[in-house]
Amino acid sequence: MEQAGEHRIAAPRDRVWAALNDPAVLKRCIEGCEALERTGPETLTARVRARVGPVSAVFSGDIALKDLDPPNGYTLEVSAKGGAAGFAKGQARVKLAEDGAATVLAYTAEGSVGGKLAQVGQRLIDAAARKTADDFFNAFARELEEPATPDAAAAGEPGGAATPVPVPTGDVPAAQAATRGGALVWGGLAAVLVIAALVAWWLTAR
């Protein structure tokens, strides 16, 4: 499973970086995320429930942050276990680049899955991972572009690229957030979870 993508987010880089490292924001953007906690300066743990119809699969994952370079990017290593559904592990490199008042988030990710996920989910992984990553970024963009930008809201064009976005003067959030969780891997992980749930459904429905 390999993926790469780019998303343009109508918010300045420092804010994107901060949000990308804010467990509360991420938790809201990852469907089914039940817990996201810091366990150390550069480690986190999370639990995500993926649900398809009446079936759900719970994955618990450990995340390690590497190559921290705020606000330019980082590398995430994730290892997630889903019980009988199998496991997923992988890493993602995330880069943030300024593009006027907006930010371009580029990522490359690679991962592997094992157990049932690999046995019956192999074909579904790539497409599902991409869709879930897209869903995540759409939610993430809404999160950044809507509530916390009163000036932009006043301008009346919350999602527009041309929206003037106030740039926070200090980078306090970035400095703190550097030790928190990350987005892309969660997108990828969520994808895996959806597949896990599909697999679980497939296994029990027969």
């Binding site: 019980g83 009988a84 199998g86 496991f87 592997s112 899955v113 094992g114 157990g115 049932k116 996920l117 690999a118 046995q119 019956v120 192999q122 074909r123 296994l203 029990t204 027969r206």
Partner: protein
């Protein structure tokens, strides 16, 4: 009379199969039965640091959770491999212990490490979900090509090599190559196959506290062998306290010969819990945990003189054994493979070396053909390629090298008793209308299609096996068969065989054999099999052995019954047994009009009012038949294919099989066996491929990714037989169950390479591979 030997009697067992009245293991239920679900490793190789079963045990409906440590503490030993192979340096093969449930390490995806027993299947599944296992994953050696240089899987087994085995005469072979005018060389893989019987493995284990007996009802091809191994080697229970029943079984193809972890654990748990335990594999489990087949990497060379006379054959094979040695894993790429490399030819010098290699994949063992399809593929791909290189007709190069004189001792340890390879080939050439092929090819070309023709003249060693020879070669058991013929007082007959039918139709053919011997209607004969509680011993069904060995045992027993009947009737007809003739179910005093029917003699045997002195009452005889040699079915298969160059799709437009199975009891059943075997052979050649990725994940683990042959993939087969009767068994029969799967792959690939004009293409010749070959051509 209907039902005699040679007649196409309809399979009597099919009535219950096709009307839903078959009794398969999963159809059976015991009072209060619990359900087992296994927790399986998602990793190809990992240290199993901890298995926390607390949450699983607390899960609603869960009765018990057992780990590998629990089974070991309960006295359950590792599952053994039943065939000892020695390396060229004289050392024994290296065996990695295989506990039924993993204890401290897991070595393939799907390896079970715990079992959850619960009141319902759902509760057992939920319990298995709740097991928390701490795996510390390790780098696997998942790929056969690199496994000998990869991470060492088992302690003390360097290069992951279990054995380096060889057969033949190396010096003579090297000399043959040195003198050769031409050498044909090929390197190829024999693709890994996943068996996929319609019925997955299943078991129902019951424990009777009153008798302290475990009854294990399971999908076994050889219930007595299962009992023997579980008792003598695994330590489950003494043999007399363990009964193994194989009821109706929906296909085996070899995969149900072996002694597996799940049935072992379920039987042990049933006694531990004093409660019946049911387990039925789902299809995903079957993909992961049934022993797979084939999986060789081979370099093969054929040395010839300028006229295409074979001088020598040199073969090196790396055989994938999987993570552990399954029950007969070591025999398949050695004694069932190397011994067949002479094929139908007089090749005077042969040298074969085989490395048996462990990998972090499911165990590999016998699958329909078991070693012989791999051997045939080597020989027949080489011969066809040699013909093309020497610009010889592929039939002609074969004729020049056929064995004509029998018995024939090959350079690889077998003695062929009889055969007529010319005859089969000649008939196949006619039946396949090979003469008309150039015209058909030209016509296909006009339509933009590429047409090809391929031959495969296979031989197999069946009728496993002469016990003394097999044991001297490493077998842990004799390979005779038992058969009891019990004539009931009213003259009907109940036949007990140690063979087992799981699709072969024994209930019909064995009844035909006995009915013919006695001259009674087939309806009077019942065949009982698959229960260690009902027949005394048996070695089961595999290696196309049932009729040649099990059927011969029945013939011997029937002859003993007839002899006793002569004594009884001789006395009652006031003559001597020597003056009694038995024919068509009637005992006649020679030279008189006095006679007794088969039924009258049976009644007299059980109501001995007027009985010879010193003769025991009753009319029941049994035999252990030990074959004197293997049987050697052989034949010629010709495949014709058409390839669409736009898509790379290969269509098998015709398939001709002319086989010599010796004497035939039921031609309809034989034809059916050939059809099934050829379908599986075409499956291997064009569709099926079991693939692990480099991390050891099985990525062809469902029918989404593992392509089985379907009716639409197959032509209407053209099937005939020729007959040279086996010289050493009383039926003259050789066996027919595996021939199709043995002969077909080489015929298909020879046809595909002919159509494409390439030297080789890998199996399965999928549209993608064919298309790529065309782009490269």
């Amino acid at each position: 009379m209907n039902g005699m030997i040679g007649q196409p009697v309809r399979r009597r067992e099919d009535i219950r199969f096709i009307t839903g009245r078959g009794r398969y293991t999963d159809d059976l239920a015991a009072a209060g039965q619990a359900y087992a679900v296994f927790a399986r490793s998602p990793y190809a190789r990992a240290r199993l640091a901890k298995v926390d079963t607390a949450a699983a045990k607390a899960s609603p409906g869960v009765v018990a959770v057992f780990t590998g440590a629990d089974l070991a503490a309960g006295g359950i030993a590792a599952l053994p491999c039943g065939w000892l192979v020695k390396s060229t340096d004289g050392t024994d093969m290296k065996v990695a212990p295989r506990p039924p449930l993993a204890i401290s390490v897991v070595n393939f995806v799907g390896e079970p490490y715990a079992v959850v027993i619960a009141d319902s299947l759902e509760a057992a599944r939920a319990g298995a979900e709740a097991i928390e296992a701490d795996f510390q994953d390790l780098p696997p050696a998942a790929n056969l090509a690199t496994a000998m240089d990869g991470p060492q899987i088992h302690e003390g087994i360097e290069q992951n090599r279990s054995f380096h085995w060889a057969l033949g005469n190396q010096a003579k072979t090297e000399a043959a190559f040195a003198a050769a005018a031409h050498v044909t060389r090929l390197e190829f893989a024999n693709n890994r196959l996943i068996p996929n019987a319609i019925e997955p493995r299943a078991c129902l284990a019951n424990y009777d506290a009153a008798s302290d007996e475990i009854t294990l009802t399971t999908t076994s091809q050889n219930p007595h062998l299962e009992r023997l191994v579980l008792s003598a080697f695994v330590g489950l229970a003494p043999e007399h306290k363990l009964r193994v029943i194989s009821p109706d079984v929906g296909g085996g193809f070899g995969s149900k010969i072996f002694i597996y972890p799940e049935e072992t654990a379920a039987a042990w748990a049933a006694r531990e819990l004093r409660r019946a335990v049911k387990w039925t594999a789902d299809r995903s489990e079957a993909f992961l945990s049934d022993a797979h087949g084939r999986d060789h990497l081979t370099t093969a060379e054929l040395a010839m003189d300028a006229q295409g006379t074979f001088l020598g054959l040199r073969v090196h094979t790396r055989a994938n054994l999987g993570a552990y040695l399954s029950t007969f894993a070591s025999s398949v790429p050695t004694y069932l493979y190397g011994t067949l490399l002479a094929g139908q030819y007089r090749t005077p010098a042969i040298w074969v070396e085989v490395d048996g290699v462990y990998t972090n994949t499911a165990p590999v063992d016998a699958y329909r053909g078991a070693g012989r399809p791999e051997a045939t593929y080597v020989v027949e791909r080489l011969v066809e390629t040699a013909a093309r290189e020497l610009k010889l007709d592929p039939a002609e190069i074969r004729r020049r090298n056929f064995i004509h004189e029998f018995p024939y001792e090959t350079p690889v340890a077998l003695v062929y008793d009889i055969g007529d390879y010319e005859q089969s080939l000649a008939r196949a050439l006619t039946l396949a209308d090979v003469a008309g092929f150039p015209q058909r090819r030209a016509e296909a070309e006009k339509r933009g299609m590429k047409r090809g023709l391929g031959y495969s003249c296979y031989i197999e060693a069946c009728g496993l096996a002469p016990s003394q020879l097999a044991i001297s070669l490493g077998a842990g058991v004799g390979l005779y068969e038992s058969g009891e013929v019990r004539v009931n007082p009213t003259g009907s007959v109940t036949v007990f065989t140690g063979s087992h039918s799981h699709g072969q139709g024994h209930e019909t053919t064995f009844a035909q054999v006995v009915a013919t011997k006695f001259g009674i209607p087939i309806e009077q004969v019942e065949v009982v099999h698959g229960d260690t509680g009902r027949m005394e011993f048996g070695l089961g069904t595999y290696g196309s052995r049932s009729l040649a060995v099990g059927g011969s045992a029945l013939v011997k027993s029937a002859e003993k019954v007839i002899e006793k009947g002569k004594k009884i009737s001789g006395h009652m007809l006031e003559t001597t047994p020597d003056d009694i003739d038995f024919e068509d179910g009637v005992y006649r005093a020679r030279g008189t009009n006095r006679q007794m029917t088969f039924g009258e003699v049976a009644l007299a045997a059980y109501v001995p009012a007027n009985f010879p002195e010193g003769l025991e009452p009753g009319l029941s005889e049994k035999t252990f038949y030990d074959p004197k040699n293997f049987t050697y079915p052989a034949g010629s298969h010709i495949a014709e294919v058409e390839i669409d160059p736009e898509t790379g799709v290969v269509k098998v437009v015709a398939f001709t099989a002319v086989d010599d199975f010796g004497e035939i009891i039921n031609p309809m059943i034989v034809e059916g066996q050939v059809h099934g075997g050829v379908a599986q052979g075409i499956g291997q050649a064009l569709l099926e491929h079991g693939v692990y990725d480099d991390t050891g994940q099985l990525i062809t683990g469902s029918f989404m990714d593992y392509a089985m042959p379907r009716a639409g993939d197959l032509p209407s087969f053209s099937v005939e037989t020729t007959v040279t009767p086996c010289t050493h068994n009383p039926l003259g029969a050789k066996g027919c169950g595996e021939a199709g799967a043995i002969g077909a792959p080489a015929a298909i690939i020879n046809a595909v390479t002919d159509a494409l004009g390439v030297k080789d293409i890998a199996m399965p010749a999928s549209p993608e591979r064919v298309w790529r070959a065309l782009q490269g051509a």
